[in-house]
Symmetry: C2
Subunit: 331 residues, 2 copies
């Protein structure tokens, strides 16, 4: 038998296990041109919360009573598609199913000998691509500049910080515990860190950690930390709006100080970034990231939860700050 996980109903505020349901289903057999896939690793990511909102308020919302999809590494266990052989490993935006049939159209083969399979969901997957391409397209880091990163101990944030060091910037990370701050300094080479849970005046704390001001702010959280960062930006600063985990669970329209005055005063830029707008740049980014991995300039953490049925729990834990690095489910 086969299992799938569907969106049972849309979360209100923070997601809970009640929003999901594990169902037994039939698998079926691949027709001509199709492949049968066995899921190996499932990526859970904060942006999926956005897709759980209703149709009006987000792009490509998930449908209620249908499976969630996310990036999954799978093994081809049967193939009637000439591009894939049994035993190939592939990555793609796939359903939360143990087994599934796929046309192969949007699958990409991955090389198990180059890096562990799980890396293709992290540093060589959307996580690494997001860090690399957002800095590449918007950040435009220059040697000697100051890069501030929120969610710094997270999957994207930790790679962003390391790229900042490769580009010879001062890198300051914001995270939610002293352990995380220790970790980003010791393991990822951040120059300084701010534990926001322990800080009353974030504006002042950022000013102290960034004595030359902030040139690029890589924002994974939005909300009040973004407000505090804006108070510290330099002329011609670039703010990358990559995530807004602090407001994803809001049930009302989140309010804050208007940014337009500061943006004008500083000739600064705030730009939203969605990695899937840049598919044509993926190959170039993976090449560069894989090179840095090989040279030992880039390292990464994973939090791996075992068991397909634990996928909703792993997703929910993202909002509790319990993962270090990329959160994955090993099926």
């Amino acid at each position: 038998m086969n299992d799938q996980i569907i969106l049972k109903n849309r979360p209100k505020g923070k997601p809970s296990e009640d929003n999901f349901e594990l169902q037994e289903i039939e698998t079926g057999k691949p027709k001509a041109g199709e492949v049968l896939l066995e899921s190996k690793y499932i990526s859970v990511d904060p942006y999926l919360r956005g897709r759980m909102r209703d149709e009006e308020s987000y792009i490509e919302p998930f449908k209620v009573e249908e499976p969630i999809e996310s990036m999954i590494v799978a093994e081809v266990t049967d193939s009637r598609n000439p591009n894939f052989s049994k035993g190939d490993h592939v990555i793609g935006m796939l359903d939360w199913k143990k087994l599934q049939i796929n046309s192969g159209e949007n699958l990409r083969k991955v090389d198990k000998s180059l890096a562990p399979l799980s890396a293709y969901l992290g540093v060589l997957g959307l996580t690494g691509l997001t860090a690399f391409l957002a800095l590449d397209k918007i950040g435009d880091l220059k040697s000697g500049e100051t890069l501030l990163v929120s969610g710094a101990a997270g999957a994207v944030g930790s790679i962003v910080g390391q790229i900042g060091k490769i580009k010879k910037c001062r890198v300051v990370g914001i995270a939610g515990s002293d352990e995380k701050i220790e970790h980003i300094r010791n393991r990822f080479g951040f120059d300084a860190g701010i534990n926001y849970k322990d800080t009353k005046d974030m504006t002042k704390a950022i000013a102290e950690a960034c004595p030359d001001g902030v040139d690029v702010y890589f924002d994974n959280v939005g909300g009040e930390i973004l407000d505090a960062a804006l108070q510290n930006i330099n002329k011609a600063a670039r703010i990358i709006n990559c995530g807004a985990i602090s407001i994803y669970n809001s049930t009302e329209v989140p309010m804050g100080p208007r940014p337009e005055g500061i943006l004008i005063k500083k000739s600064a830029l705030m730009q939203g970034f969605l990695v899937r707008d840049h598919i044509k740049d993926y190959e170039r980014a993976i090449q560069e990231l894989a090179g840095w991995l090989k040279e030992g300039k880039l390292t990464y953490d994973e939090t791996i939860i075992e068991g397909f049925d634990k996928t909703p729990k792993a997703f929910i834990q993202l909002f509790e700050g319990r993962n270090i690095g990329k959160m994955l489910v090993k099926v």
Copy 2:
């Protein structure tokens, strides 16, 4: 005798005549290398309000008890600088004085035979440069796109709209009276207009006037009209934060709905624009603008107030929406 106008004290909220003082002063005589200038036309602009804030909160704030400065067209009445002759007309960032001595360093000669002197403070001055260069550097207008402009009947807005039509866009203007909407449609060729003072639901009104969504929003006002525009932006929209007249007079931190969620969802960009960051592009912009003027593709309005002592009043009227087009003082 000579007159000057100083900042007597910093405005709280909307500026009033009490914030300024007209003083009689001595003129002095130009030394070697200097010129004596007689002011002909003085430009009053909303951004000057920002420079009237205190030192902490704005770049290059004016000092209390010292003259205001703005762009002025003046005639050289005496010259001890080899680059200028008596009778030359020049433009520069000059003090609000009838007569003044200047080193000539930051003066640019203007050609009275090419366009009327006042045009160098408007369509061929910072006004036209702001419209042209903000669209050039941030707007990146493509044929067939929708350009929304606030402050559309104002000096910058009316040029922005005309450039939008030259670039073959659908151009929609927002202004504060039915007369202004009539005017931008009839005189400047806007495709549609919204009288915001007469509109309860701006989000809906923009949606109706921009059936294909908003690709570029040229924002001169900030605040709630910006909020409504954000609700209507297309994927990869560009929002040019050129002015925020709705919040310049705020005495408290202005609050509003947080934009980061929409910016991410739409991969959109909000960028502050200050024309003086782009001095190296001025000549190219003036050439292009002068060409359009000559071909009759560009026209402009002026509101000219007569009398040097009326300069503060002219400035204050900017915040009452009483000017049509560029507001100038004829000395």
